[in-house]
């Protein structure tokens, strides 16, 4: 039998540190897209609730250390870091390998992201359970507040561009001193 070896999206690209910004690759574990059918809203809430996840409000995530249920659009969420339960009333698709996930941390993280993300990421506007489907530069992305930092998901194929753009923004922020 042949053997296939896995490669992570940011292999050879991360971690990186620019100024006081740290960018590290996150292995998110399984990521599933969940979209309840019109006929299955209650069933979905029930099945997820039994697994410990409340359906998130728009631009919010629920859960915690054992996985996050992240709102990614009207009637759509990503279950990140946990295997979904059997949900009879919802479309469920494994998208684990479609996304490159990076954690950005450090005192200048908001300043760096302000150069790439057209969303208000301040403490007041983007609280501990906030998330947004938005842009990083020209890339479609999901930005989620996690602890004091942010986790950013971009298309796996764009991992290289993501690192370049974050690094460039971080350099110019660091150069301001």
């Amino acid at each position: 039998m042949v053997k296939l070896s896995p490669l992570s999206p940011f292999a050879g690209l991360l971690p990186r540190e620019v100024g006081s910004l740290r960018v590290t690759e996150v292995d998110p574990g399984p990521v599933h897209w969940i979209a309840p059918y019109r006929s299955g809203l209650e069933g979905t809430a029930e099945a997820l609730g039994a697994a410990g996840f409340d359906w998130p409000a728009p631009n919010r995530w629920t859960g915690g250390a054992s996985g996050r249920l992240v709102s990614v659009g009207p009637g759509q969420a990503f279950l990140v870091g946990a295997v979904p339960p059997e949900i009879p009333g919802a479309a469920v698709t494994d998208v684990s390998d479609g996304w490159a996930v990076a954690a950005l941390e450090g005192p200048t993280v908001r300043e760096v992201l302000a150069r790439l993300v057209p969303v208000d990421l301040s403490e007041q506007a983007f609280g501990a359970d906030a998330t947004a489907r938005t842009l990083v530069g020209h890339m479609s992305a999901s930005v989620t507040r996690v602890g004091e930092g942010f986790e950013v998901m971009v298309f796996r194929s764009m991992a290289g561009t993501f690192v370049e753009e974050v690094e460039r923004a971080a350099r110019s922020v660091a150069a301001r001193g």
């Binding site: 896995p6 059918y37 759509q76 479309a91 684990s96 479609g98 302000a114 194929s157 764009m158 753009e165």
Partner: protein, 973 residues
């Protein structure tokens, strides 16, 4: 001349160079201050007449003192000397003069001025017609102009950023400081932006006292409090340049332009600020008066003289004369005298004026000036007669124009106020933007402070903040006394727009030629169309126009202002988009392995795919391509097809939904089966083609072409959400999740079978089947489909295993005498088989044109109504055909037109065109696909192919688009 002990600015001594000559300076002062301190008055040459020019102002409104800073990749033309901060070793040079600023030969233009008035070029250079673009315009552009770009890419890239706030305060003078303080104390998120390096506005330039102390000290106190508030962000050196929809403001920050270049530090940052509300506290700009020869170096606005004196500690002259029509300007004489500078006289146009220890000439006018490279004297006509006053600096004030520019950015026009002789912003000009202070004609310091606080309090209340009243400090509250004076009649030229060399005579000439509308006058004379946008001259120009046309100023109206307030470099607006920043790069999982084989990459959408895989000894791409085609036809080839769009469709109504979005029947597809299909746009034309695989009950996988993946996803989302919301169906893209590889050729089954965990049963995998497979213990998917016409499979695994599977596939394929193939071979293989790409499906093509009309058999689907219309089923329409040259092999260029053999190769006779072509090593001939009128009934006929651009003319035989294995035996083998 520096005045020891005067001025607010202290900086380490520095040496700067202007036109190569060194000057003593203080780090952080403006270049204008440095040059004036060193007695330099001549700083540039005017645009058209090459008139010697000096400094007119002390701010961003400067029309004259434009210089070029830096060289090569750091060269910046048209930098205002009044805004440029200097550092030790700073260098600038003058513009638009040759061979030297003081001896400019092009000044000959100035002698020809009676000829060169407004409209001269358009009236003169009319014949012969073709000469304008090729001869006259280049000549005129060379003769006239300001600074130049170096033509080299910037050495250091600028940046762009976003900011958010409750209240954006634009301008940090007395009104802005009070507004920011009120909002900051109320807890609102405040951004205070000011274009100067040091905040304080006119408080830094005037000797006003606030609460018994110097105004600038009060400003520093407020700024210290604001800096300590976590909810307030101070943005100095930041010009808010535009007001846009929904509270978005554009702002340009000078990040690295005020100091020696530093690695990684961007020159500029272009901010997009989203503000719930904004207050415009941009102050006002003093306007000069137009009189004969009022453009000589040494003539400047009265407020600029005070700025150089009080802020920078520099006397712009040793004997200064003042010419004004208002009380405010008289401060200039008082401040100069207090600093020990001789005031040669005060000329006031009114019949009474404030007294002082200097000669005052009431009912006075400056009627002429002398001094070609710098002012020597002025001629004054006043109540007591005419006299000439020796003077090296003339301070002029015609009153103040409120800086209403941003309020006009959404189309509002300012309103004339007869009492203040100024245009004021109308109410509600820009939603969410309030105006306070001098920007709405509240000119005294006290009025500005009061207005800033009051307007901020009002806005805060609307935002739901509890704004406690900020106590108002004591400050001067002098009335604004002014009498209208726009220009002094005379024979010699009186200048309005100094940057575009527009005179009073030009404006009057426009009126005489019946360009009476202010918009027509502007375009006829170019008044206000230079880089300064006429900040110091527009109002005076339309006053002159009003006079010339016998109308009042409000009747004449005003031109309006568009963004940007001050010039924004394209490099700042486009920051981040240089080179590869233009678009994200999408790499497949095989990318590194493919590149390591030396494969040239081609773009497909944002993806990069291998064009071909060169082998040692191959001299041209065609050799590699021919080899790869033969390899696929002869043994087996492997290609990365991960870039094709993949959309999962799920739900109780998934089958019905697919029947709705596809033109052919899809809902009947059974699990484990794949079908080809086409999607139409609503207008009946083909949008995309691809396959649908049924993965299980109510679960399908749609594949799209690489380039149309996003388009198809959006189209299907639209159909699900808008057209058929009653259908219970859900869609998501899985393009990125799966790495997918095509394995094609007679040996394909052997290669695939060698990798599967379970033994491969040929019966289980007939043509157009699909299903789950295990590869090395990983859950993958196998599809029996072919884009080459050979026995073909596509094998998919989660992307993390893509690189690994690619290596394994190649190793296996090479063991069977095969290898990788690229886009070039893929294209040849599909042309041999007559398969479609977007070269054929170019948006103008119907299913009928493609010979696929039979697929359209359902009662309803997107595009059906249009596709069934008579005109789209006309036999005369160009139909898909195959072409090959008659006789010898010849290139058949895509884009070439098709004609009857004996027809003239002219547009009217064209019967079709070529969409794709390739040399087929399999058939030993060139093959092409194209569209030909009535093509399906013309197989066997000869047509003439003509490519007018490349000079190609070939006779071709028309045939079926499928040139290779027309029975399709191989794919099923």
């Amino acid at each position: 001349m520096r005045l020891p002990g005067r001025g607010l600015h202290e900086g380490p001594p520095a040496e700067v160079y202007f036109d190569g000559k060194p000057y003593d300076a203080r780090t952080g002062e403006t270049l204008a201050a440095t040059l004036l301190a060193n007695g330099v008055r001549l700083m540039g040459r005017s645009f058209k007449y090459h008139r010697p020019r000096g400094i007119l102002t002390a701010g961003s409104e400067e029309p004259n003192a434009l210089v070029t800073v830096g060289r090569r990749g750091r060269q910046r033309p048209n930098v205002r000397a009044t805004m440029q901060e200097i550092w030790d070793g700073f260098r600038a040079r003058s513009q638009n003069s040759w061979p030297a600023l003081s001896r400019d030969l092009m000044a000959v233009n100035d002698l020809a001025w009676p000829l060169l008035g407004a409209g001269f070029y358009y009236k003169t250079f009319m014949w012969p017609r073709g000469f304008w673009e090729r001869v006259y315009e280049p000549m005129i552009r060379r003769a006239a102009g300001l600074g130049h770009l170096s033509g080299e890419p910037p050495e250091q890239a600028s940046e762009k950023a976003f900011a958010f706030c409750d209240l954006l305060v634009i301008g940090a003078g007395p009104a802005g400081l009070m507004a920011a303080l009120t909002a900051g104390r109320a807890g609102a998120r405040v951004i205070l932006a000011d274009e100067e390096a040091r905040m304080g506005g006119r408080l830094l330039s005037e000797t006003h006292e606030i609460d018994g102390g110097p105004g600038h000290a009060w400003a520093d106190g407020v700024l210290a409090e604001l800096a300590a508030l976590p909810n307030v962000r101070l943005m100095p050196r930041t010009t808010v340049t535009g007001a846009y929809d929904q509270g978005t403001y554009g702002a340009l920050e000078r990040v690295g332009l005020h100091a020696a270049p530093r690695a990684d530090l961007p020159p500029e940052c272009f901010w997009r600020i989203a503000a719930r509300r904004a207050v415009l506290c941009a102050g006002a700009i003093e306007r000069p008066v137009a009189f004969a020869d009022n453009d000589r170096p040494g003539i400047m606005t009265a407020s600029a003289v005070r700025t150089y004196l009080n802020r920078w500690g520099v006397a712009p002259g040793q004997r200064v004369t003042l010419f004004a029509n208002n009380d405010d300007a008289h401060r200039t004489a008082r401040d100069l005298a207090a600093a020990g500078v001789t005031v040669a006289g005060v000329v006031d146009s009114r019949d009474s004026a404030p007294e002082g220890d200097w000669p005052v000439y009431t009912s006075g006018r400056v009627t002429g000036t002398r001094g070609r490279l710098g002012l020597r004297s002025v001629t004054v006509t006043h109540a007591g007669g005419t006299r000439e006053i020796p003077t090296d600096c003339l301070a002029v004030s015609g009153g103040w124009n409120p800086s209403v520019h941003l309020t006009c950015h959404m189309g509002a026009r300012p309103v004339w106020d007869e009492a203040r002789l100024a245009f004021l912003p109308p109410e509600g000009a820009v939603p969410g933007l309030a105006v306070a202070g001098a920007a709405r004609g509240r000119f005294s310091t006290r009025a500005c402070l009061e207005d800033g606080a009051a307007v901020a309090a009002e806005v805060l209340e609307a935002l739901g903040f509890d704004a406690t009243r900020t106590e108002l400090p004591e400050a001067e509250d002098d009335p604004y006394r002014i009498a209208a004076l726009w220009h002094v009649p005379g024979k010699r030229r009186a200048w309005l727009d100094m940057q575009n060399d527009v005179t009073v005579k030009d404006v009057a000439g426009a009126a005489a030629e019946n360009f009476r509308s202010v918009e027509h006058m502007k375009r006829y004379t170019t008044q206000g169309m230079a880089t300064d946008q006429g900040k110091t001259s527009n109002v005076a120009a339309l006053a002159v126009l009003a006079d010339a046309t016998g109308r009042s100023i409000p009747e004449t109206g005003t031109t309006t202002f568009r963004p940007p307030y001050t010039p924004v470099s394209i490099a700042a607006m486009g920051a981040g988009g240089e080179r590869e920043g233009f678009a994200p790069v999408r790499r497949t999982t095989s990318d590194a392995a493919v590149r390591s084989r030396g494969a040239p990459m081609v773009e497909a959408g944002l993806w990069y795919r291998a064009a071909y895989f060169p082998k040692a000894g191959e001299k041209a791409w065609r050799e590699a391509c021919d080899r790869e085609v033969a390899m696929v036809r002869g043994s087996v080839g492997v290609a990365d097809v991960s870039t094709l769009g993949k959309i999962e469709v799920q739900g109780p109504d998934a089958a019905a939904f697919l029947d709705y979005v596809y033109a052919n029947r899809m809902g009947s597809l059974k699990p484990g089966r794949v079908r080809y299909g086409i999607m139409l746009r609503e207008d009946g034309h083909v949008m995309d083609d691809g396959t649908v695989a049924c993965l299980g009950s109510d679960r399908y996988l749609v594949t799209t072409t690489t380039a149309a993946a996003g388009l198809v996803m959006a189209h299907m989302d639209y159909a699900a959400q808008v057209l058929r919301p009653e259908m219970d169906v859900r869609l998501t893209s899985v393009t990125e999740h799966w790495a997918q590889f095509a394995v094609a050729g007679p040996e394909a089954r052997g290669v695939v079978a060698s990798l599967l965990d379970e033994e491969m049963d040929a019966e289980r995998w007939p043509f157009m089947s699909c299903g789950p497979v295990g590869i090395g213990g990983v859950d993958g998917r196998l599809f029996r489909i072919s884009f080459s016409g050979e026995q073909g499979y596509e094998i998919a695994v989660p992307a993390r295993y893509g690189a690994s599977l690619w290596r394994l596939l190649l190793a296996q394929a090479e063991g069977w005498g095969g290898g990788p193939y690229g886009m070039e071979a893929l294209n040849v293989l599909r042309i041999e088989k007559g398969f479609l790409t977007h070269a054929e499906i170019d948006g103008r093509v119907t299913a009928f044109d493609l010979g696929m009309q039979r697929m359209l058999s359902k009662p309803d689907f997107i595009g059906r109504a249009a596709a069934m219309r008579e005109g789209l089923l006309d036999e005369d329409r160009p139909q898909l055909v195959g072409l090959r040259p008659v006789g010898a092999v010849a290139a058949l260029p895509p884009g070439a037109f098709l004609f009857a053999p004996d027809a003239a190769a002219v547009r009217e006779a064209a019967e079709g065109h070529v969409t794709s072509a390739a040399y087929s090593p399999t058939l030993g001939t060139t093959l092409a696909m194209g569209f030909l009128a009535r093509g399906r009934s013309r197989h066997g006929e000869t047509v003439k192919l003509v490519d007018h651009l490349r000079g190609v003319e070939v006779l071709c035989e028309v045939g079926d688009p499928v040139a290779y294995d027309p029975e399709g035996k191989l794919v099923r083998g």
